[in-house]
Every structure is written in structure tokens, then in C-alpha cells.
Amino acid sequence: MLILECPYCGVKAEETELQPGGEAHLKRFGPGSSPEDFEAYMFARKNPKGVHFERWRHAYGCGKWFLAARCTATLEVFGTYPAQSPEPPADLVNKIKAKRPEWKGWK
């Protein structure tokens, strides 16, 4: 069972109260971009065994989108933060680095 704390309403929401939204921090390539860039944006997703950044929506709660960092293998949750974040907060990145020295970074 996955429990994520919604950064907007502060509820520790159980997985079934949430809607998954896939990988976080994607850079959009729209009209005018190269076919390769658009294809990568449209279809290519990370699928790591380990640290992963994801979008989630508190669908049955306050209805807001937020971002979460968790480990796909152990389900350990490193933290959640608001969706209005172009990149993960520095303190969260440092926390993950301390816990997982082998982790190569979020990009």
C-alpha cells in the first residue's frame, strides 16, 4: 500500500484515494519541434528500478495535482511537493542522495 501526503491539504492519502499521472518533470515538445523530440516527449518514459518522480492527483480529496518522489522497488516515499515546481526541491534531492548514494540524479 502506498501512502502519499498531499502537499495542498496535508492528508496522508492512501493510494486508492489518488489518481496516478505518470512521470513528472517532462519537457513538452509541441508544434515546430523535431519529430525525434516529439516522439520522445510523447512516448519515451523512464521506467527505473529505484528512485522515480511521479505526478499524482488527490482525486477523491482536494482534487489537486502534486508531485511525489518514491522508490519503485521498495515503495519508499521520499517526499511530495506542489505541482508548480519545475524541478524537485533541493532538500528533497539531497535527502534522496543521502539515502541512495548510487542514485544518478533526477534528469
Binding site: 495542498y8 492528508v11 492519502a13 484515494e17 477523491y60 480529496g61 482536494c62 482534487g63 489537486k64
Partner: protein, 183 residues
Amino acid sequence: MAEPVSALGGAVFEGFATVREIGPLGMITLRAKPDVPGLEAAVRGAVGTGLPARRQMDWAKDRGCGWMSPDEYLLILPHAEVGRALAGIEAALKGQHFLAVDVSDARAVFRIEGEKADQVLRKLAPADLDAMAPGELRRSRIAQVAGAFWAGEGGYTLVVFRSVAGYVMGVLTHSAQPGSELA
């Protein structure tokens, strides 16, 4: 004018807790960021409470204002006063970015009462009822549908969409079956 009626006509089930459909209850959804000028005065004018803190409900007798999300409030008041309250909000927030809608007839309201009322909800919602602060409004899932509930007056009040009132009465009835109490 047509008489307002609740979704299930006041259905009641007596199990190890009492489940009652109540209403009709006046409800207004007010969407606005908390820093909108005049918002607090508009809420005070409509239901007589201040702006609630995160996940909290403020009450003034039978009127209340609940925090639904960072930019949404639920105003609760007698059904007959909704029109006047809406007009007051529209006047007070004229020109601001906000939305106020009468949702009274889009909702069904249940009361779950009794010593073990919490167990009826514990079986249906993935919410930690022990972690609820006094006066907290919890939005969650009731079996397969969205719902919001709060504790008070010897039980819980549960608000769901009217279109699923029959379904919710069914799952509440099932959850409150005598002999199915949690250990």
C-alpha cells in the same frame, strides 16, 4: 414553487449504528483563492463564520463553512436561505475572480449516529479517522464514490452526490449490519 425534497425521502436504517438520510440541506460551493479581497466578509455575510483553516469547518449554529481545497469552500445553511446568501456573495465579490453556485439539489446528506458510528465509515473509506482533528472536514472515498464527512453531535455527517444517494445508502446499510461490528 415546488417543495424541495431530499434524494431518498429520509430513508432510515437501524443497524449497530443508525443511518439516516437527512436534508434537504442548503449548500453553496464557493470557489475563490483565500486572498481574494472581501472573501471573508462575503462568507461572514452568508453564513456568519470566518474563513476556515486548512481542512477545518467553522460553525455558527446551523450554518457552516468548510475548507474543501486551497481554492474551494463549502457553505452550509438552511435550504430556504440559499438564494439570498448567493445574491449577497455575488454583490460582495463583484468584479473579483470567484464562482458561487447553489449545489443544494446536487447533494445527498446522511447522518450516521451511535456509539460505533465511526465503524460504519471506517469500513468504507480509506481515511484514518483517528487522525482527524476536532472540527475537521475529510474528503475521501465512500466505497466507489467521492464523499466528504465530519464528526459532531454524537455521529458523523456525510455529504455525497445526489446521483449516488441510493448506492451510498446501500453501502452504509451493508456496513451497519448488526453483528458486523469491528472487533
